[in-house]
């Protein structure tokens, strides 16, 4: 049997059903690879080999019964391994959010996205590394050590969902869940040479997702091929009574095997996303990918999203402001470690002061300031108004084009340690991903080339609200005629 971890999701599903290999063999193959590679990569913060193998045996039994009655329905993901970013609750597995303040916390319930995938038959291999509370662009802000980029161990994998991106790139999981508040799925997908979806805001329930920036957070997914991502997305998406921000729209089944016709497609390329300081090979690869879509029949035109440059200050006021409120719950009273003190107030001060990491404290401080009396209008209030202008840029653009194609980051994966002393330089890594979050539109990342050092380059397609399927179709057409997504480190 060739290496089972090299199969794509649909081949794995097919192989399990046809009895080419058992679920136990499939799970074992991933567990062995994790054991072999992850000491070095640190993509996983927690793995559950016994639990996963136990579920594999149950899946094998179910498959054996099904083969006797193959006309009956099987759960669509039966026996398929999955990695979950350690910021989504999985009942019974530790959830640290990359923070010391949640060390030892074991959630008593599943996140809705996780619950739906488990109900579809998925088997969770473990929890993946993240910047603390998803605040970061490199996983260097994890309290449990940086994740290394599988393409070059001295480089970051991106962040904040760097563990999930690295796990898929290194084939330590076929698919993995991430979250995207300001680019945290798309940027690590780009840095690790995999594909990743940030759905429309409100499309996937956040129940059981540890909140960072509540007006921005979405649950997303990593994989290699569009069919993999589309299937996981389709199973997670949809209204949830436990998350009032989910939108009640039907989730149609996505079949990418239908004929793909790009000739009526209008692609906009925003001129503000090509900056003089960006790495030349990144720009070249993006331009080349756009030419490729053009060769497949799409019409390409330059467009303008004039408020793009303001997305950085808007995001870094709104997200920290929301974070400062969301993270008020970590007080050492109900969960997590407690530093002892004579008064309850001192428990708060000590526990939060010592257990939050530097970037989380920085954002809490920034957000608290932006919301404080006398500064609210100038900072938070102003940011929310400029957010409207950014959103209107997208609404205007989607009157003339169907999708927007753009770079994800100005550079490929940067060296570990490069930005750790300069928070503003780290924030600047996010300039191209923040606007989609502020506007709430979906964004899909996929690999379109490599730089001279062999580091992957990704491109994003942004669509109008709930246009995920269109993004999948275009990227699928691209992947059918290119092989960047099939390269492995």
């Amino acid at each position: 049997m060739s290496d089972l971890t090299s199969l794509n999701l649909h081949r794995a599903i097919q192989g399990l059903r046809q009895g080419e290999f058992s679920c136990r063999e499939l799970i074992q193959a991933y567990l062995e690879r994790i054991q072999l590679l992850d000491l070095d990569l640190n993509a996983y913060l927690f793995t559950d080999p016994e639990g996963a193998l136990k579920q594999a045996e149950a899946a094998d039994q179910r498959l054996a019964e099904w083969r006797k009655f193959p006309q009956t329905e099987l759960p669509p993901l039966l026996g398929i391994p999955l990695a979950v970013k350690d910021i989504l609750c999985v009942k019974g597995m530790p959830c640290t959010c990359g923070s010391k303040i949640l060390e030892g916390f074991v959630p008593p319930y599943h996140a809705t996205a996780v619950e739906r995938l488990l109900a579809a038959g998925a088997i969770i291999l473990g929890k993946t590394n993240t910047d603390e509370f998803a605040m970061g662009s490199s996983t260097e802000n994890s309290a449990y050590g940086v994740t290394r980029n599988p393409w070059n161990r001295e480089r970051v994998p991106g962040g904040s969902s760097g563990g999930s991106a690295a796990a898929v790139a290194a084939r330590l999981a076929p698919v993995a869940l991430g979250t995207d508040t300001g680019g945290s799925v798309r940027q690590p997908a780009s840095f690790c040479g995999v594909s990743g979806l940030k759905p429309t805001y409100g499309r996937v329930s956040r129940y059981g997702l540890v909140a960072y920036g509540s007006s921005l957070d979405v649950v997303g997914v990593f994989g290699r091929e569009m069919q993999e991502i589309a299937l996981i997305y389709e199973l997670m998406a949809g209204v949830d009574p436990r998350d009032a921000t989910t939108v009640d729209l039907p989730v149609p089944h996505i079949d990418l095997n239908q004929n793909i016709e790009l000739s009526n497609l209008r692609i906009g390329v925003p001129k503000e996303y090509f900056l003089p300081g960006m790495q030349p090979q990144v720009e070249q690869a993006i331009r080349e990918a756009i030419r490729h879509l053009q060769a497949l029949g799409a019409q390409v035109e330059e467009i303008s999203l004039p408020h793009t440059e303001y997305a950085l200050p808007v995001y870094y006021l709104i997200a920290p402001a929301e974070a400062s409120a969301n993270l008020a719950r970590y007080d050492g009273i109900r969960y997590g470690p407690r530093l002892s003190a004579a008064t309850m107030w001192d428990i708060f001060y000590r526990t939060r002061g010592e257990k939050f990491g530097a970037e989380v404290k920085r954002r809490i401080m920034l957000g608290t300031y932006a919301l404080s009396a006398g500064y609210y209008d100038a900072y938070y209030g102003k940011a929310q108004k400029v957010r409207t202008l950014i959103k209107q840029d997208f609404e205007r653009a989607f009157q003339t084009v169907d999708v927007i194609a753009a770079p994800i980051a100005p550079t490929t994966a940067f060296p570990i340690g490069e930005h750790t002393d300069d928070p503003l330089a780290m924030y600047l890594e996010d300039v191209f991903t923040l606007p989609a979050n502020l506007a709430g539109v979906p964004g899909l990342a996929f690999p379109v080339g490599f730089d001279q050092q062999g580091l992957p380059i990704g491109m994003q397609l942004m669509g109008s609200y709930f246009q995920e399927e269109l993004l999948f179709r275009i990227a699928h057409a691209y992947q059918l005629t290119t092989d960047w997504h099939l390269r492995t480190p």
Partner: protein
């Protein structure tokens, strides 16, 4: 835009964060630089622009108010650092 030591202390107090002297100074410098960079927002005239609180409004009606079971108390207390008589234990909060 330069924050003072007093402003940093005030923010840290509002956020209930114990900070070392070194952290206070570092955050004072870094937050000042970040806020400086953010001054560019003031270039834009937003007098007539409404704020966006959330990118997509779900437009859903509130669900009916029905009694349902919540998670078992023992499970919710299982993560608490200190428990007494089935409750979270804290130091006295009133004198």
């Amino acid at each position: 835009m330069s924050l003072t030591r007093e402003q940093v202390d005030h923010i840290a107090r509002l956020a209930r964060l114990n900070l070392s002297d070194e952290e206070r100074e570092r955050y004072r410098e870094q937050l000042s630089a970040i806020l400086d960079h953010f001054q560019r927002l003031q270039e834009l005239d937003t007098e007539a622009v409404p704020p966006t609180f959330r990118a997509v409004e779900s437009q859903r009606a509130p669900r009916p108010d029905q009694v349902q079971d919540s998670l078992p108390r023992a499970e919710l207390l299982s993560n608490a650092p200190e428990v007494e008589q089935n409750q979270f234990r804290v130091p006295p909060i009133l004198d």
